[in-house]
Symmetry: C4
Subunit: 215 residues, 4 copies
């Protein structure tokens, strides 16, 4: 049975909101007292940096999730489970963030290994998102009427090409863990500015009318 | 007084979203440095496996909760409390997940005992869900008009039969804790694919119209 | 400026959902292995008991919050802050729950003291709720048209009388901490079954029509 | 593409609700037993005080966020990211709250340093909020039709002037950490009572009609 998108969006919003917020639980209180306090704060910088990068990554994913669902009219059972798969992978981000922050400044390979783990998870959620987008565009039966289904299907190539950036960060992780974190920051910025434009068969005005009616 | 389902769904979505997300808080950062890092990651596998199984279980329960509420028009006070009972039991899953993961590879019976605890909780939420579904279908006064009330009531037998799988996992837990985890994974997959189909007296098209009007 | 109740309900639902769910974070994994495992589980019983009682308390408060907002049409700034006060006090419940569970079986007065703390917080949220309900019923300008404003105002006496149970649990806490927990369980059951019935000037049917139109 | 505000508000509500609720996780259970219990509770007072102040700060910010979005009709991509920036900074509050509470009663400068950190974050979110409000009022293309765009733009001066209070608390932090906490409490109370009134070109009645229609 196909149903409306309302509750899936609400559930997904909840999961995204919680994941992005529990990132802060990984920031450790500096225990140094007196004049050493600021020294203790500075030593936390890998956690602060990882917090900012992961917050941006999750935020950008939420924006894109939001954009895609703005073009979907109904959900069916496979979509619910593909959405659940995306959420399952994304929910692990606070963990890999913490692992990376804890090991970022270590020597002897564990920093690189932690960066590999962090990057592998980004590959995983890129694949999950790709599967989700593949299913949505394959038939296009869940789209709003105004969406150009053939055009939406065509975005899959570009979407897939963009996803190549993630496996490359796994390679970069063997070179430098801090550079890997910078790379993920830049990729998130790129996806913040460059959404996959979903073409419409009618002018935007009509879609807005339609989505107003839907509510 | 009977009221609409909106806020109950929102509250339940919130609880499901939080439960499914705090599962990640149980994943421990490996403390090993240098070349031992991956060894430390591998040692966490019971936590990773338990994370995936419990995420799937909670996700499937959310999908079924979502499906049932898609057929309910109004809520009354008993339903609110039966729903609360379901949520109370489901909310314990992150705890039993953690207990099972911590003890999964131990010898001397504690792994089996932890698996028994995990399985007993699944029996508890199967019973809570059954009570919820029993109440909804008993009179059927809360259903949408399009729902075939007699047909919905008839699903209770199949629903109850399916629930027998849970007590069987309690027995299996005495044999092997890892096998019990696998069994719960398979049961969740089964419920993902096999919902209780709630029959409608009219064609699906009309229900959709009705639920559009409701919003 | 008066606005609709939608976002206040969504925010409050979120807070209630999180408070009720993070209760589970206080359950400790038993560290005993082998045949001592169940002994370790049994020792956690104060945490399990406190979990059930506090889950019920928060759930009942959510149901009553839900019921009151079902009769409110608009919110103004004072109401937003009175609602925030209620949420601030309720949010402390996971803390006092944990304090009580940790000290429940101790001798030498700390169990009683923890029960006093737990009970004092229930007095605090009863007062906050009372202030909230007092403000809503004082003028009644935020109610739906169908609500009998004079009748709603009259419920304040009964509401206030019921609240006397909370200070009594503070006294009981000096006698026995476990009994205090039982008392709170019974009070929650009482409020689950006995809502303050808000009288309507018209038959219920019309209110439902009105709330359907509002959506 | 511009879309409706519904999901942004839901996501933001979720984040605000979680931030305000996880503050309670920082309250520590007193470990003292017997007659020392209350002594242990009293020693937690910096955590209790910091909890109340931060709860109020986040609550007031939510109310103001709620008020602003009540006047916005559509969101575009820059607004989504400015909103995300606000949320990113606000999400750090539980961390700085905990840092301040841990060090508040220490001697030798770390209390002041922690208060500086706490105050610097308030400067950061004042700036983020200012950027958000600047963008919304610059063109005013996202406002409801009833909003007086020139009047809304004029509020920016007052908004900016009010924000001067935050850097002043950074200075105050060098003098006294407890006084800084008191100052933040007073500033939050000030913003609770003094919203930036957004002028309307029509009487309030019509805006309400419009927002009713929008739903």
């Amino acid at each position: 049975m196909e149903t409306e998108t309302g509750r899936v969006e609400a559930f997904s919003d909840g999961v995204f909101a919680i994941i992005i917020t529990i990132l802060v639980l990984e920031l450790k209180v500096p225990e140094e007292t007196g004049s050493d306090f600021w020294h203790g704060v500075r030593e936390q910088w890998p956690h602060y940096a990882a917090y900012v990068v992961s917050f941006l990554i999750i935020g950008v994913m939420w924006v894109n999730h939001h954009t895609i669902f703005g073009h979907i009219k109904r959900v069916d059972r496979p979509l619910l489970f593909l959405n659940l798969l995306v959420l399952m992978v994304v929910s692990v981000i606070p963990y890999t963030t913490n692992v990376l922050a804890e090991h970022l400044m270590e020597e002897g390979g564990s920093a690189n290994a932690a960066a590999v783990l962090y990057s592998l998870l980004t590959v995983a959620y890129a694949l999950a998102f790709l599967a989700f987008w593949w299913y949505v565009t394959r038939v296009g039966h869940l789209f709003h009427d105004q969406v150009d289904k053939a055009g939406a299907r065509a975005t899959r190539v570009r979407f897939g090409l963009g996803a190549i950036a993630y496996p490359l960060t796994v390679v970069l992780a063997f070179v430098s863990a801090p550079l890997t974190l910078v790379a993920h920051f830049l990729i998130a910025l790129y996806y913040a500015a460059n959404q996959i434009p979903i073409p419409l068969v009618v002018e935007e005005e009509r879609l807005e009318t339609a989505s107003d009616l839907r509510k």
